[in-house]
Amino acid sequence: MSDELDKLLARLKEIQAEGSQEINQAVNKEKLNDIRVKFMGRKGKLTEILHSMKDVAPENRRTLGQQVNSLRDKFQASLDQANQDLTHKLIEQRLEEEKLDVTLPGREPLMGSKHVLRIMEDDLEKFFIGMGYQVVQGPEIETDHYCFEMMNLPKDHPARDMQATFWIDDEHLLRTQTSGDQARVLEKHDCSQGPLKMVGPGKVYRRDDDDATHSHQFMQMEGLVVDKHVTMGDLKGTLEMIAKHVFGSTETRLRPSYFPFTEPSVEMDVRCFNCGGKGCPICKYEGWIEVLGAGMVHPNVLENAGIDSNVYGGFAFGVGLDRFAILKYSIDDIRDFYTNDIRFLTQFRQEED
C-alpha cells in the first residue's frame, strides 16, 4: 500500500514543480486565477489527490493530508506574492506611462504691470502720506488766474517765458506746472484750523518739441507746507529726506535759484550716483544732478489766497516725476514713457510695491 503513497507523493512533487513554474510564468492576474483554479479549485489537481486518499493506507493518510495542505499553503503564498508583484508592476507601469517632461514650460497667465511713472508717483505719495500730507488733484485745463497770477506771475512777467505755454483761449491754458493746485488749496484752507500739508501730482504741459530730453507732456508733483512756524531748515530737512528716499543719495547741495512763487528759492542737486562726482555723461560732467526746485512760499502767493503772510509761512517744492524716473532707472529717452513699448512697460514690474 505504501507504493500507492509513494506514487501520490511523487505526483505531489510533480504538481508542486508544475504549479511553481506556472505561477512564476504568470503575466497577469487572470492567469494567476486560472492557476489557482487549476491546482486548488474544487476540481483542481490538489483536490484530485485528496480524492485519491481512499487508495492510501489509513496510517499514511495523515502524512499525505499534511503534505497536500502544506503544498496548498505554499501555492497560496506564492500566488499572493505573485499577485502583489503584479500589482506593483502595474502601478510602476502606469507611473512610467504618466511621466512628464518637467522641463517643458508651464502655461503663463497674463501679468499686469504699473507704468513706471505711476510707480514713481505712488511711491512718493506713500512717502508723503506717511508724513501727514494730503494728496490733492487739480485741473489740467487751468486758468491764467490760478496757474500764473495767483502764483505771483502777473501778465507780462518775464519769468512766464521760462514756461512755454499751450494756450486754449485768452484765459485758459494747459497747466505748465502743478502749482495751481497750491493756490486752490491755499484759498480753501483755514490756517487757524491747523497746518496745511499737501502734495499734488499730475500731468503738465509745455510747448516743446519732443526729443530725447524734452516732452510736451510730463508729470510733476507739487508739495506745500504752511503753518506758523515752518522754516527753511525744515525745507532742507524735507528735501534731503526725499533725495535719500528716491536716490538713496546722502550728499546733496542747495543752490540759490528763482521761482516767482517762492522767495528764497533754491534748487537741489544730488551727487552724481553714476560717477560719484568725477563727471560723466549722466551729470553732463558737472558731478551734480539737479533733481528739484523749492523755496519758501512767496508772501504774495499767501496774500493772494487771503492768508496773512505776517503770521503764516511755509515751503513749497516741485519734483519732476519723469526726471526722477529717468535718473533712478537710467532711462535715456523721455519719449519712452509715452510711446508705451510693451517691453519697456513691463520691465519695471519688480519695482512695484
Binding site: L110, Q134, K203, E286, D341
Partner: protein
Amino acid sequence: MLISYNWLQDFLKLDIEPAVLAEKITRTGVEIPTTDHPMDGLKKLVVGHVLTCEKVEGTHLHKCQVEVGEDEPIQIVCGAPNVASSQDVIVALHGARIAGNEKIKRGKIRGIESNGMICGLQEIGFPDKLVPAKYLHGIFVFPADSEVEPGQDVYHALGMDDYIFDFDITPNRADTLSMEGAAYEVGAIIDQKPKIEQIVLKEDGPAWTDSLKVEVDPKLAPKYYLRKLTGVKITESPLWLQTRLWNAGIRPVNNVVDATNYAMLLTGQPLHAYDAKTFADGKLAVRKAQAGEKLELLNEKELDLDAQDIVIANGKQAVGLAGVMGGLHSEVTDETTDVLLEAAVFDPALVRKTALRHANRTDASARFEKGLNWDNVQKGIDIAAMLMRNHAQATVDEGLLKASDEQRQPVVVKTTVSHINHVLGTKLSGEAVVNIFDRLGFGHELADDDLTITVPNRRWDIEIPADLIEEVGRLYGYDNLESTQPLLPETHGGYSERETKIRRLRKLVEGQGLNETINYTLTAPKAAKLFTKSDHRLVKVSWPMNSGRSALRQSLMIGLLEAVSYNFTHQQDQLTMFEQGRVYNLDNGKYNELEHLAAIYTGTAANHNWQKQDQPIDFYWVKGQLTALLAAVGLTDLTFKAAVIPGMHPTRTAAVYAGERYLGFVGMLAPILAVKNKNLQGHDMYGYELNLEALLPLMTTGVKNEPAPKYPGMERDISLLIDKGITNAQVVDCIKENGGKYLQDVQVMDVYDGMQIEHGKKSLSYRLLFLNKEATLTEDVVNKAIAKIDTALFDQLEAKIR
C-alpha cells in the same frame, strides 16, 4: 553770461582756485554749470614772426621762414590765403597739440619740408561764431599793437589762459549780467569790496547838443542819453579788447561796435551806435511806431511795425527798433566818420512784447526786459565814448544830451532780525546779519531787532523782506542751515475717497493682467472725437506744435490705439494694455475733465504656449473681464445694449449701463481703422472704455456680511429653440421675471445655430439655480417655477421648449 576770471581780477583779488570759486558762487549766488579753460588740451603753440613768405609755384601753398624764438627760423608750408611776411602768427611747433587733440608733426608737403603749422583760430579751438570775419577763412594775425614776442606761448596773448565761468543767470539776477555786477556778487561771496572805477571822459570837440532836436516820451524811455563822436576811423580793436569780447562770447567786429559791446559787458548798459548821417535832418524821436510803418533790421529782416513797438526815428522814418536792434540803414559802416551813441532805459514790458512779436530777441532786448541799473547809464555811454576816443581816433563832442532822465530812488526795506531767523530757522545775531548786508554793499541800520536796509539801484530785484531773507540765507550759506523736520500739530495724510476708488480700479485692472500705459493728451482733432458715444465740442490749443497734437482727447482709447500701433510696428502683437486718465471736452462754455478707464486687447488670452491653450481674444473674453472688474467693485446688475460708437465695430459693440446710467462701452475696434493706419492690418483689437465720473458714485464702499447658505440648492437645465433675432438678455429677463423668488442665477450653457437647426432659429440651453436660504427646497416648488418659466418663454418669445 560768460564771466572771465582774469577780468574779475580787475575788481577783486582772487587768490582762490577757479574751480573752488565756481563751486562757491554756485552754492551762494549764481549757478556755474561749467568752467572753460580754453588752453586745456593744447600744447606747443607759440607766436611766430613770418620773415619770408614765397609762393610755391603751381599750388595755393606758401613756403615761409618763421622766427619762433629758436636759434634758427623754421620753415613752414602754409596753405592759408592770407599769410604774408612780417606777420605775427600762431605757430604749432613739431609735437604740438591743437584743437580736437590733433597732433602736429614735422613732415613734407608736396615734397617741401614743413616743421609745423601756422594756425587759424578755429584750429586752436575757437568756434566759428567768435572768430573775427577777416580771419574766418585763414590764419589769425596778431594786430600790430599786440606786443607779442616770437617763441612765447600764445595762450596769454589770446586770453586762452583765462577761466571762463558760465553764469547761468535766473531772471531775477540780471544784475550779474555785467562784469561790475558779477564783481559785486563775487565780492560779497568772498567778502571783498570790489574796486569799481569811476571815469572822467575828456570832451575835446565842440558842443553839439543844440544841433539835434530830440523828442522822447519818458514813459517809453525814462532815460535816454546821447553822445556825438566825430572823425572816427574804423579799424580792428586792440587785441586785449578783442580777447575780452571773445571770452565773453562776443565776436569782435570793429573798434566802434566793439566799444559799445565792451561797455555793455563792463557796466550792463546796452549801447547803440548810429551813423550820425542817419539824423542829418536834425531830428530824433523815441516814439511808438505808426500804422503801416516798416523797418529793415540790421539782420536784414523786414518788419511791419506794430503800434506798440517803440522805435527810434529821424524826421522821416523809423531807423531802429528801440532796445531790440538797429536798422540796416543807420548802421555804422567802414565809411562812417561821425557816430551818435545812445544809452537808454526802455520800458521793459514793451521791449519784451516787441521782441516776442517779431521773434527777434537779442542780447540787448534780454537786458532791457530783465531790467537795468539806472545808475550806470552814464557810465556805460562814457566808457564806450572813451574807448572810441582811445582806439578809433574819435573826437568826443562836448555835452551829454539827456533827452529824458527820470530818477529812481534806492529802495528801503524794513524787517527784523528775528523775522529773518524765524523764516530761515537760524539763530543769527543782529551783527551777523548786518555784516552780510555790509558785504553786499547795502545800506543798513540796526535798532534792537529792527533792521532798515537801503538797496542800491544796481540790485533792483530786491523789494520786500523775503528778498532780504534770501540774501541773508544764501550768504550765510544754505550748507550751514541745520536740517530739521517741521514741528507741527499732527495732520492726517491720505487720499480723497475719489482717489482711493480710482486707485482700487487701477489695481484690479492690473490684476487682470493688463499693462498700464500713459498716453498723450493732445491728439489730432479727428482722432480726438473717436470712441465717444455723444458729441461734445473739442478743446483745442490755439498754437499747437503740429496739427497731430492740437486737440485734447475725448477718449483714452485713441491713445491706446496709438500705443498698440506703435507696438505693432515693433513686432509686438500680444498686447493687453490700459490707461486711467482724463478726457476733456467743452460744454456750454465750460471746460470739463473727466476721469476715464480704458483697456485694449489684442492677441491671445494667455501667453503663447506649446499646448495651444492660448485662445485668441474675442468679444466675450473682454466682456467677461469687464464684467468681473465691475462685479469686484459691487456692480453686478449691468445692462449691455448693442451700440454704434465711432471707431468701434458697428455690430460687435455694446453700451454698458448700470440702471439708466451709461458707464461706457465694450466691443471690437472697427476694422476700418486699419484702412487708414496700415500698421493695424491683420490684428483684431477689442477693448472697453468707462467713464469713471459715472462709475465712481456707484462703487460700493461698505460690505455687510451675508452668511453662506446652509441649505442645498437645486439645478434645472432647460433648452429651447427660438428665433435667431431674440437676444440672450430677452430670454434671461423672461426667465428671471417668471422664476419666482427662489431663482438665484441663470447661466447660459450652450448656444447653437448650426446645420442641425431650422433656418432662422437657434438653440439655447440654460442652467437655472434655485435656492431657499431659509429651508430645503422641494421638487414641487421648483417644478412649478419651471412650468411658469416654460409658459412665459412660449407666450412671450415663442420659444419651443425641448
